[in-house]
């Protein structure tokens, strides 16, 4: 290749383009958009999310669309194996398991979701107040938390259940009486940490009212962690419900939840193992999906991992 002679004519003055220099080439992502993008990139978390959505849809629609009722008994189909008539077979009294499973999913998912959400809200409010204002209020609430923390959760739940009677509502109430402690502690710690940060001090110096500081500056910063914690708390609530129903203190028959299905299925373990294997499969996959999603959310919201694509 021969060397080409360059003369000044070969060059052209492009000039400055002030607008182009300031132009942002990548679209501006908000915190949530960024988290969503990273969550989608995380395959296992995304699978978890999809499984949960499918289960939720099935729980809503499957019992309505089926031709069997969840407590209809069919003497001819006792312990029937899965077939075209009964997709998941039947239980010991001939009730269709497909319908019962999704009726149970309604109860279990409702309890899991609402108990976890209520706990998170109570915990966030109390923890936030403690962390932000400190002082006497903080001391009193933290002493209460310390004392409650030492008492076994399950025992309190059982006692409350027994006192106020059985049912979905009372189960949720019982779980909420002690369940808020964890989120309270964690929110308090986070708020305590954030309060000391410069951007909060700056807001305070500028005379921003406390309520605005909490809503505009602190809340968005702990929102991600709260969502993650919520996701991790749901399996706990579902598990508690299943556990209580299993030992006979939760939902009472003929209503059903996943815990009750497992309990009834285990009785028939020798005769018809599918009666426990099927509910067990769905309980475990739900827990698995929630755990995977929770892990994914934690990674997605973690500022330390920002910019690192897996």
């Amino acid at each position: 290749m021969t060397e080409k002679k360059l003369s000044p004519e070969n060059f052209r003055i492009v000039g400055k383009n002030p607008e182009g220099m300031e132009k942002i080439t990548r679209p501006n992502l908000s915190f949530w958009q960024d988290a969503w993008r990273r969550l989608r990139a995380n395959r296992s978390a995304f699978i978890g999310l999809v499984i949960l959505i499918i289960y939720a849809l099935l729980a809503i629609f499957a019992p309505v669309l089926s031709r069997y009722g969840f407590s209809d008994m069919d003497a001819d189909a006792m312990n029937a194996l899965p077939s075209f008539a009964h997709w998941f077979g039947c239980d010991a009294t001939g009730r269709d398991l497909w319908v019962r499973l999704w009726m149970g999913a309604r109860v279990s998912l409702t309890i899991g979701l609402s108990a976890a959400t209520i706990n998170m809200c109570i915990g966030a409010i109390l923890g936030g107040l403690c962390g932000y204002y400190g002082g006497k209020l903080d001391m009193i609430i933290m002493r209460i938390v310390d004392i409650l923390y030492g008492i076994p959760t399950l025992i309190v739940t059982i006692l409350v259940m027994v006192v106020i009677g059985r049912g979905i509502k009372t189960l949720i109430i019982a779980m909420c009486i002690v369940g808020w402690i964890g989120s309270c502690r964690f929110v308090r710690g986070e708020v305590y940490r954030l309060k000391e940060q410069d951007f909060v001090s700056a807001a305070q110096v500028l005379g921003v009212p406390n309520a605005v500081i909490i809503l505009r500056h602190i809340l968005p910063n702990i929102m991600g962690l709260m969502v993650t914690n919520l996701c991790m708390a749901i399996p706990w609530s579902i598990f508690q419900e299943a556990f209580l129903s299993y030992i006979g203190l939760g939902i009472s028959p003929p209503n059903c939840s996943w815990g009750i299905l497992a309990k009834e299925g285990i009785k028939m373990l020798r005769v018809a193992p599918h009666e426990v294997l099927i509910p067990a499969f769905f309980i475990c996959t739900t827990m698995l999906a929630l755990n995977l999603l929770g892990d994914g959310l934690r990674d997605a919201f973690d500022p330390k991992l920002r910019g690192t694509e897996v």
Binding site: P152, P235, F243, A280, M287, L288
Partner: protein, 311 residues
């Protein structure tokens, strides 16, 4: 250190007092009467009412109960009227404790080993397998685990006894089903904290000094990484203990769990009270020990002021 321990002990005693009080009054609020069994004649029932002091005001009953409690007396069971609650606890607790200790030891030792192995093999197949085991472990409730183990090992393959508790081979399945969840969570936590520690400066220093990687792992990495595991020991003991309720019922083990659940459904006041207080104090004691242990292992805790406070 002494101040730290004293503080923890006072908190534990306060917790216990609150627990006893709350349970005492909650139990009284329960619907239904304890002496409605058809077997009891009215005279006996009336005598029983008197014996337990149900005719006296609640405050008197409460003080009386506290007094008895200080003597370690939980009173008579109201269902098994000829046995004291102490008797029943003495007869059943050893089974629960045995099972619980076995499960705890299995879970913690295997959990730590899995966590360490998977952290050391980060990213390869061994790590992947350990992580999968951990995720499955935290997703399977123990009653389902118990049922599966019972079905496959006991019924399908007939390798191990299905129920009861007489000898080592009987303990394997219950221990496994109880331990699995804890094992998984211990290994997850251990893995995460090992990975966090590995980038610390003192590990680099140790490596720069030319220490063997075995020594670095055992002396520097594991020692520092084990802290978070100690923190969850308290809740773990609680989880294992409550887990025994279910595992005992699946494997027909004559432990405390069955009596506890029964007493709740039969309104056996003194039994619920006694067992709750017993369970509660046991757990409070465990938490106390863990707190003290934590203070001993990590000097920052006792110097840094109140435990349980935000950093």
């Amino acid at each position: 250190m002494l101040r730290y321990i004293a503080k923890r002990v006072i908190a534990a005693i306060l917790t216990l007092l609150v627990l006893v009080t709350v349970v005492f009054f909650l139990v009284r609020l329960m619907p239904g009467e304890p002496f409605t069994s058809a077997k009891l004649t009215p005279v006996v029932a009336e005598n029983m009412q008197k014996y337990y002091g149900f005719d006296k005001p609640l405050a008197v009953q409460y003080v009386q109960y506290l007094k008895n409690l200080l003597h370690g007396d939980f009173g008579y069971s109201m269902k098994y009227t000829n046995r004291t609650v102490n008797d029943i606890i003495a007869a059943t607790f050893p089974f629960s404790a045995d099972l619980g200790i076995r499960a705890l030891v299995t879970a913690i030792s295997f959990g730590l080993v899995f966590g360490i192995i998977s952290a050391l093999n980060r990213g390869n197949k061994i790590d992947f397998i350990c992580v999968i085991i951990a995720i499955i472990g935290t997703s399977v409730p123990d009653f389902i685990m118990g049922a599966f183990l019972q079905y496959f090992f006991g019924i399908r393959w007939g390798l191990l006894p299905v129920a009861q508790y007489k000898g080592f081979s009987y303990t394997i399945l219950p221990t496994m089903s109880l331990a699995f969840y804890t094992l998984a969570s211990v290994s997850r936590i251990m893995r995460a904290s090992m990975l966090e520690v590995v980038n610390q400066d003192y590990i680099k220093t140790a490596r720069a000094k030319g220490l063997s990687s075995f020594r670095i792992t055992t002396r520097h990495q594991i020692r520092n990484a084990i802290m978070p595991v100690i923190t969850i020991l308290g809740p773990t003991v609680a989880a294992v203990l409550t887990g025994t309720f279910v595992v005992e019922s699946i494997f027909a083990i004559p432990g405390m769990g069955k009596y506890y659940v029964d007493s709740v459904s039969t309104n056996d006041y003194s039994m619920i009270l006694g067992m709750t207080v017993f369970y509660g104090s046991f757990l409070v004691l465990c938490n106390l020990l863990v707190d003290i242990l934590y203070g001993i292992v990590d000097p920052r805790v006792r110097i840094g002021g109140k435990a349980g406070e935000a950093p």
